[in-house]
Structure formats: structure tokens, C-alpha cells
Symmetry: D2
Subunit: 161 residues, 4 copies
Amino acid sequence: MIHSHPVRVYYEDTDLAGIVYYANYLKFIERGRSEWIAVLGVDQMEVRARLGVVFAVRRVEADYLRPARFGDDLVVTTRLAAVTGARILLEQDVLRGAELLFAAQVTLVCLGDEGAAARVPAEIRQKMSAGLHQAAVFPGADVRLDTSLDADVLAFPLKHR
Amino acid sequence: MIHSHPVRVYYEDTDLAGIVYYANYLKFIERGRSEWIAVLGVDQMEVRARLGVVFAVRRVEADYLRPARFGDDLVVTTRLAAVTGARILLEQDVLRGAELLFAAQVTLVCLGDEGAAARVPAEIRQKMSAGLHQAAVFPGADVRLDTSLDADVLAFPLKHR
Amino acid sequence: MIHSHPVRVYYEDTDLAGIVYYANYLKFIERGRSEWIAVLGVDQMEVRARLGVVFAVRRVEADYLRPARFGDDLVVTTRLAAVTGARILLEQDVLRGAELLFAAQVTLVCLGDEGAAARVPAEIRQKMSAGLHQAAVFPGADVRLDTSLDADVLAFPLKHR
Amino acid sequence: MIHSHPVRVYYEDTDLAGIVYYANYLKFIERGRSEWIAVLGVDQMEVRARLGVVFAVRRVEADYLRPARFGDDLVVTTRLAAVTGARILLEQDVLRGAELLFAAQVTLVCLGDEGAAARVPAEIRQKMSAGLHQAAVFPGADVRLDTSLDADVLAFPLKHR
């Protein structure tokens, strides 16, 4: 499954170069992640209260390919690449139509009450995994799909490519 | 007492018009308030833990007079105008040298555990009042000083001018 | 006419108090203004290029009534209150359902090439005025409508109430 | 040379998790870059006007190691790792005392008038290179210094490690 979330560029997003300020792409993809996880049926606040875990960004690799501008209608795509132990690897892009403007790999880590890494709870793995397998069934929808993930995604070691 | 806090303008602060985005002046003056209250010896986090109160912005009146630009060295000034009941009225300006760029009146309200308005704790009133009377002793330092505040500032009804 | 624009609250909007950071309401209402002016058929970039004018925020009066929180679905409403000379007065609210969270009066000023105040171009006055009269025809839609604006809104002196 | 720039954490920087929002570290390191380049004697606005080039972020690799919190006094360090062709590779960290909170590798690209990649102008290479060689002379100052850069840094192909 590739989740899509629309974002329009407003004044607040731009800088004096007339383009979207580079930090703001991280806001855009965080909006995309929030919508993606909600679509999976995960309520972050409820998970924190009931399961005692939160998800934090551990690493971001981001390529800035083309600038976005005021008034642009963008789409943030979010695709789960792997879930392993305490980590979740996402691929998130920002597009303007067919143009790829920004591409990121985001590693989330599941944290328990004390802030220590904690295994991703089974129910969340299942919800995420369901979305992942759905993608595997329709690989044509995602040209970047790594088919090696099909076999045993949950045990797949997280690697930053 | 007029508290001064320096702010330099970075890319993050600007928008495509090449000037500081209007919402960011509220960030600048919030930095000024945080520094001002620290100078008075008030630790916001400690106050929340020990006295169970927080301060929230209730109202802002802001005039945008001249634009600030990338690289500008600005000064945020903060002056207590009145403390009354649950409210604190501040006058906060942003200047570039002698040029006044932005002028705001900010009303803070003291909130208790349940989010209801609560009387400003006596120890905080005293710390703020000490700073206020200090200003009254040297009125030449602040041409906008309202001398009617000298007599009984803590009972002075908060008015938005 | 009252223009409505939906806003969802994301992590980026919150602060450590667990609520929307006060400066971010100015971002929300700026999004509302950008959408409102687009609905009126005004392209800000095209206007700048062809007519040589831009609109800048000159004054904001903002009341913070109730906090918004992560995940809230908000609505920004924008209503033109007056156009006079170089100035445009808007009333903008942020609501969560029927709850009014934030209410602002925003004064825009039309600026010419040199940054000096310039009369709002006739074509823009007409587009805005059309929207305003539309509101006057259906006053039931806006309980705050000031009927004194009906007669001669374009000559109505701008006053900050 | 390792350039250091102090940053204090304010409300605007935090989110509802009570820590600095992840996108804001990119603001912190951009402030550090702006100060670093100014220390080298490069005026970004002047360079744009006179040489017709700007620097844009092309890639960021960022590790979030420990959270920063309200009131923290942080230091942003900036170290030039390589200049090659149109690219500049920087290593930028955010520390709280001796604690490393955030570590990034940032690739800048030099862009000409049309937005196409352009060779970094010689005078800027020299200013940056002077700073770089200074680091090489005192390698003890930077435990991460890559000595392979000494020989011919300006021809060294940029690699993302």
C-alpha cells in the first residue's frame, strides 16, 4: 500500500529564495505519516496511553531534487519498507504531479515508558504488515518495491540503502 | 525594567516576499518573554510542578510597522504594563537599531490545573512587580511608561488600549 | 460571504504544553486568507506581476479562547469586514465544530512597488466587494455581520473595534 | 576548523511530546551554516548579486540520538568535509554539553542563475578550503577528521558515507 496525502504550499512554507524551506518537507512528510498511521487504524494517543509506547524519528535520509513553490499542490506518499524489532522503515516522497521533488527514507523507533527502545507491539505490526502485504500483491503500484521484503518482512534486518 | 533580547533573522524566518513571515514575530517575542521571566528568577517548569499554574497567551494586539530581513540583528524588548488578578499585560516591541518594526501588547492569563483562570501566585507577582517598580524609578528609560501604574499596579484593571 | 477552510492539527503545530502553539494560529488564518482570495479569483502572484501591488499584514488583534489539540479538525473562517483606501479588514476565526477557539481581526495593507501604501486596485475591490455584498444578501449566514457596511462599504473608514 | 553556534530551545521548538520537534533541528543547523559562512567572510546575498550563485541543500542524512528539551542550551557545530565541483559536504552536530543529540551530513549544491548546478566559485572554495586546511593542521580538534581529505580535497569525489 502506498498512502497519499495532499499538501498545498502556503506562505508559511516558503523562504526568501521563493521556494519551500528545506526543513518544511519534514513537516509535510510527518503529516503524511500521521494520516497513514490513522488510515491503518492506529490512534497514536490511544497507543501511548494503552500500550505505553510512542514512535520517534531515529534517522532521516532526504534528497532534495526539485524545489516546490507557493501555491503548488503536492502529494506526500508513504510506503512501509520494513518493520523489524523496534524499528519501522518508511519511504516517503513529495511529488508535484509526476515530478519527484523530495525523497526520504525515515526510520522510526518504538520507545517505551523510559524512553528505551521497545519491540513494536504485535497489533501494530499486524496492521502495518497488512498494509505492506497489500502492496506486495499489487507490486505494479510501486516501482520501488523491494520484493525481498515479501518473504519475511518482520525479520528483515533494517538497512539504510 | 525593560528587558532586551537579541534575535538574528535566519532563512527559517523569511518568506517568499523576502521578509520575516508575520507569524514569526510571535516566536521572537515569545523568546523575549521566556528570557524576561527567567531573568526575574521564575522557572516556568518549576512553577508548573510546584504551584500548579501555567501562563497562556490570552490576547495579542500586534502592529507590523516595517519589515525585518534576512541577517538583520533585532532586539525584542519586554515591559510589564500591569498584573491584575489572573492576568499579566506585557508590551513587547521588535526593533532594528532605533527603528521600531513591530509593536505588540500581549495579555497572559494564569491557568490552574484544570485550565481555569487562577490568581497569579504572590511570589510571581512580587518578582514581576519588583521589575515593574524598578522601571518606575527610571521612567526616562521608557517613553511609553504609564505613570498611573505606579500607585497600585497590582489592583489596576487590565485594559486593552 | 464567509469563506471556510479546513485545517487539521499535526505534531508540527503543537508545543510542549500539548496544545497548538500560539503563533501557529497565524499560519492557519493565513492559509484561510490564501484560499479565500483564490476563491475570489485573485491570483496573488499574477497581481504582483501585472498590477505591481502586494498585500501585507499591517495589524492583528487576536483572542485565544480555547486550545486546539493534536488531531483536531478545525475550520478557519474568513469574512471581509471593510475595504477602504489602501486597507482591507478581515475577521477570521478558528473553530472546532461549534466551539470558537480563536478570533482575529486582521488588517491588510496594499503596498506598491516601493513598499508605500497604494490604493487597493479597482478590480480587486470589485471582486472582494462582490463577496461582501453576497454576504449582505444572506445576513443570516453571519451573525456578526455589521449592516452599516451595506450602504457604502468602500468608503467606510476602517476602524479597529 | 569546527565552527560552533549556540542555540537555546524555546517553546516554538517543542512539540506535544515535550521535546524538540524533529524538523526544527534542520533550522538549528541552518542557523549554524549561516553563521559559519559569515565567519568565513562570505556574504550570501552579496555572492548571489555579484557571482550569480546560490547554495541549496541537496541532501541531508540525519541521526536523532537523544532529545533536546525546553530551555536546553545547545551548540551547533559545523565542519567542512569536502568541496568538489558544485558540491559542498558539511558535517553538522547538535550537542548539549558533551552529549551528542543530533548528527547530520549535509550536502549543499551551488546553483547558477538558471537553477543548474554550477562550479563553486574559486574565491569561495579558497575561503572554505582555508578553514578546512586549518582543521587538517590541528587534527586533534576533530576526532572525525578524514585524513584522506588532506591530499586533494577539492578534487575529492563527494561520497555519502
